[in-house]
């Protein structure tokens, strides 16, 4: 099951809050998170890892980044 979260333009801690919400809802799978600042990129990656998810890839996307996280 794939999912995309658009956290662009949201201020701290919303990107982390909605990412964790999605992680808890799905339990496992693959999520794409779009963010527009480096702070959000670091925070989302840190939060995902703390939830036991794996950071598959972080790539530039527009002015921000696309973070792909997953759990088997």
């Amino acid at each position: 099951m794939d999912n995309t979260i658009d956290a662009r333009g949201l201020s701290c801690p919303q990107p982390v809050l909605i990412t964790i919400e999605q992680i808890k809802k799905m339990g496992k799978g693959r999520i794409e998170v779009l963010v527009d600042t480096d702070t959000s990129k670091e925070n989302v990656a840190r939060a995902a890892e703390s939830q036991g998810w794996h950071i598959e890839n972080i790539e530039p996307d527009g002015i921000g980044y696309k973070i792909i996280i997953s759990k088997e």
């Binding site: 333009g9 949201l10 201020s11 701290c12 801690p13 527009d36 670091e42 703390s50």
Partner: protein, 364 residues
């Protein structure tokens, strides 16, 4: 660049930045800043408001170069590491009022979260009440966040829009150089200076400026935030930012011990009062306002430096809030809370609750 970039995002990165701030804040006191006020974003923005005459409290007027440095240092870091992102438009008017009331609350306690930590590190036990209030306010903010509180998205804007607050700060620095302090004079050109009181106590201009720029630079890199530290701990059980705050406290304490600046007790503390309920209440208001705005006053300055126009509006709100605080008798003094301080804290909490309860927006 990549190496440094990753270092500041690590546990040791945030701990180093907290240590740097703690040590240099204590040193700034040694060099002339007021007691337990090596760095205080609220007090220093209040002094800036006094320097430009927005309030006329004679003892707190000084164009603090640290504040200017925080924004310019963050701007420098943001450009060097390609993180300058001009953005604005996330309920700016709400952020303005949160800034106003955050300042009103902070000035009832007499300090921002940074100063609360520095006061504790200097032995001022009143800071315990302030920190308890701060945590209480943030905890209420977390309840709102869990309930769906959200100020909505910002959007990308012109680079020049992101430059406005840094330019204002650069302009303040220029004014300070054109109209330098004159010994014993309350005024130099258009700027106001304090002849006595905390506003008259300051480290040499260029030392303050350089330390400010360095703190702004490192804090932008590490995302240091005192409100975020407690919020993330309560909301996510995450300790990352909290380690930075703990580091600031420990290193400021150690430096104070070495410099002979540690003096434990409730009474006779510099720029502090002992009205426990209002030390708590003032910071409860401030903590709630910071949590609703998404950052402590320092963080808002660093965000302003990286182009966040909404954070810049919060900063302007704080400066205007300082003017209200002193013009309306809301701010405390070592004698206790101002004549209307209690009423202002109650109104502020009601305004924050109104904002928290009514501003829920689905982020999707």
């Amino acid at each position: 660049m990549v190496q440094i970039k990753s270092f500041f995002a690590t546990r040791w990165g945030i701990v180093s930045v907290g240590a740097f701030i703690g040590i240099f804040a204590a040193l700034l006191q040694k060099l002339g800043n007021p007691g337990n006020m090596g760095i205080c974003v609220a007090c220093m923005e209040r002094d800036v408001a006094g320097a430009i005459g927005l309030h006329r409290a004679a003892v707190v007027q000084y164009m603090r170069p640290e504040i200017i440095g925080f924004v310019l240092g963050a701007l420098l870091a943001a450009y060097l590491f390609r993180e300058f992102r001009p953005r604005a438009g996330s309920a700016s008017i709400v952020r303005f009022f949160l800034g106003v009331f955050a300042m009103i609350g902070a000035l009832v306690f007499l300090g921002c979260p940074w100063r609360a930590l520095l006061r504790l590190a200097g032995g001022d036990a009143n800071a315990i009440l302030g920190l308890a209030g701060l945590i209480g306010g943030i905890w209420i903010g977390v309840l709102f966040l869990k309930g769906g509180y959200n100020l909505g998205r910002s959007s990308q804007t012109h680079s020049s829009a992101g430059w406005l607050l840094p330019l204002m700060m650069a302009g303040f620095l220029v004014l300070m150089l054109i109209f330098p302090q004159i010994e014993g004079e309350e005024r130099s050109g258009i700027l106001f200076y304090s002849v006595k009181g905390p506003g008259a106590m300051h480290a040499p201009l260029f030392i303050s400026l350089i330390v400010g720029i360095a703190v702004g630079f490192f804090a932008q890199r590490s995302r240091f935030c005192t409100m975020g530290a407690f919020r993330d701990l309560i909301l996510f059980r995450q300790t990352h930012l909290f380690l930075g705050v703990l580091s600031l406290l420990i290193f400021a304490f150690g430096t104070n011990l070495i410099l002979g600046q540690f003096n434990m007790g409730f009474t006779g503390q510099p720029v502090a009062h002992t009205m426990h309920v209002w030390n708590f209440g003032g910071m409860l208001l401030a903590g709630l306002a910071f949590a609703l705005a998404g950052g402590c006053p320092g963080r808002q300055l660093f965000l302003s430096g990286e182009g966040d126009g909404d954070a810049a509006v919060f900063v302007l709100g704080m400066i205007v809030g300082a003017a209200f605080s002193h013009n309306f008798g809301l701010a405390s003094s070592p004698a206790g809370v101002g004549p209307h301080g209690v009423a202002a804290v109650i109104i502020g909490i009601l305004v924050c609750l109104f904002i928290g309860f009514t501003m829920r927006e689905k982020s999707a």
